[in-house]
Symmetry: none
Subunit: 251 residues, 2 copies
């Protein structure tokens, strides 16, 4: 592949995920913003109104992006198969994993696009992503903004993020093969689900009062950027613990 078709291939693996979008016009404007930067995979998690004439009107030349948009019922479903999910947030959060400015996050996006699909996740217009939604993202990206008024319009935020991803794709024309194979989003999510079950069985985690345990573990392992083999080792340890817990329960 020549450099520009490599860039285009990387950009084609970037999904834009819009969660609970209120105004259909913003969906159309986001589709247009994506396509001006060469992104075409749009996933809508429970949009309030879609399809809608306002979305079509504001998409203008990006009608195809809109026509091919996928509707998902949960964020988990929207992120299925992704190597990396990057959540956009303007607000400061207590437990948010790695937090990067969008320019640095865009480098990670293009790096991970060598492994598979990568998601850029945007929350609802009024309040952004919830903490539970952000917890499903390996990286939180912020767009530097005026602290007096950091509230970018949704499509404007998509435009800036897509722009940075496009620039990063141009700068990364040769992808270095990673020495180890990174775990996919699905693999790490399955690890967290397994850990949650095992910790509950150990009575170390009380699902009724989970406190900050799982977010802390997500933050730790998110920072480490788990490899597939590491996920397998950790799940092997959990499975071994499960056997002891099961024997204890059977007694």
């Amino acid at each position: 592949m020549n450099p520009s078709s490599q860039s285009a291939a990387a950009l084609a693996r970037v999904r834009v995920v819009l969660v609970h979008t209120t105004h259909p016009g913003n969906i159309g404007a986001a589709a247009r913003a994506m396509w001006t930067m060469g992104l075409r995979q749009l996933v809508l998690v429970m949009p309030e109104r879609f399809p809608h004439a306002d979305a079509t009107a504001l998409a203008t030349g990006a009608a195809e992006v809109l026509a091919n948009a996928r509707i998902a019922t949960t964020l988990r479903d929207a992120l299925a198969g992704c190597a990396l999910a990057v959540g956009l947030s303007a607000r400061a959060r207590a437990f948010a994993g790695r937090v990067l400015p969008i320019r640095d996050a865009a480098e990670e996006v293009i790096g991970s696009a060598a492994e598979g699909d990568v998601a850029l996740v945007f929350g609802t217009e009024m309040s952004g992503l919830s903490n539970a939604e952000l917890a499903q993202c390996g990286i939180v990206a912020t767009i530097p903004a005026n602290p007096e008024y950091p509230s970018l319009n949704l499509a404007a935020a998509v435009q800036v993020a897509a722009y940075e991803v496009r620039i990063a794709a141009g700068a990364h024309r040769v992808w270095a093969a990673p020495r180890f194979r990174p775990a996919t989003h699905d693999e790490t999510e399955a690890l967290y689900a397994h850990a949650s079950r095992t910790l509950t069985a150990l009575r170390f985690l009380n699902p009724a009062q989970p406190k900050r345990l799982l977010p802390r573990l997500r933050r730790l392992f998110g920072r480490a950027k788990l490899e597939r083999e590491e996920v397998n080792i950790l799940r092997g340890i959990l499975a071994r613990v499960d056997q002891f817990v099961d024997r204890d329960t059977e007694r």
Copy 2:
């Protein structure tokens, strides 16, 4: 002045000039885009309809930018007193001056803001700036875009340009994840020793044939740069597992 007030002073000298804008909603959305990046000087050259309810609605929290917008009858008038004018254009032109990507143009904007006001000039929605209008600009800036569909919405182009100018001004104020206390060498070594005992008791690790298990775990947690509280959480989990293993052994 401290660095951030210097940035704010430079951004305050950047004018956004919109020439012959057709849709008042775009004026409002542009005002919002500007103010999210700390720009507040808006100049409108012969807008088709202004003031207008659509402009007000889309400006949301940037009402003040809109209220202070200056109306000019000619581009020349709008640019009066500027040290530099940068015209945005997606299309290639037979242009005698300097053509730069917006990232490089933003550096020039901030450099010139030390001498006086600087203008970012945007043309009409359908056709952009005319050649005669571009001729009044010292630099033409382009936003890298999908060659198949380079047509950014006007306010989206303002958002990207204002974002690049803000970054160039050094106003990189993003919120950081809270800082935690890193674990000491002794604390992480004690964790590895504990893990080694527990994994041996689980018969997951055979000390006679340890293979690569412990080095792999060291590599993973070393990459994550453990915090003290994380070491405590992990040792808490190990201690809980130890209780189950002990009960199993006592049987």
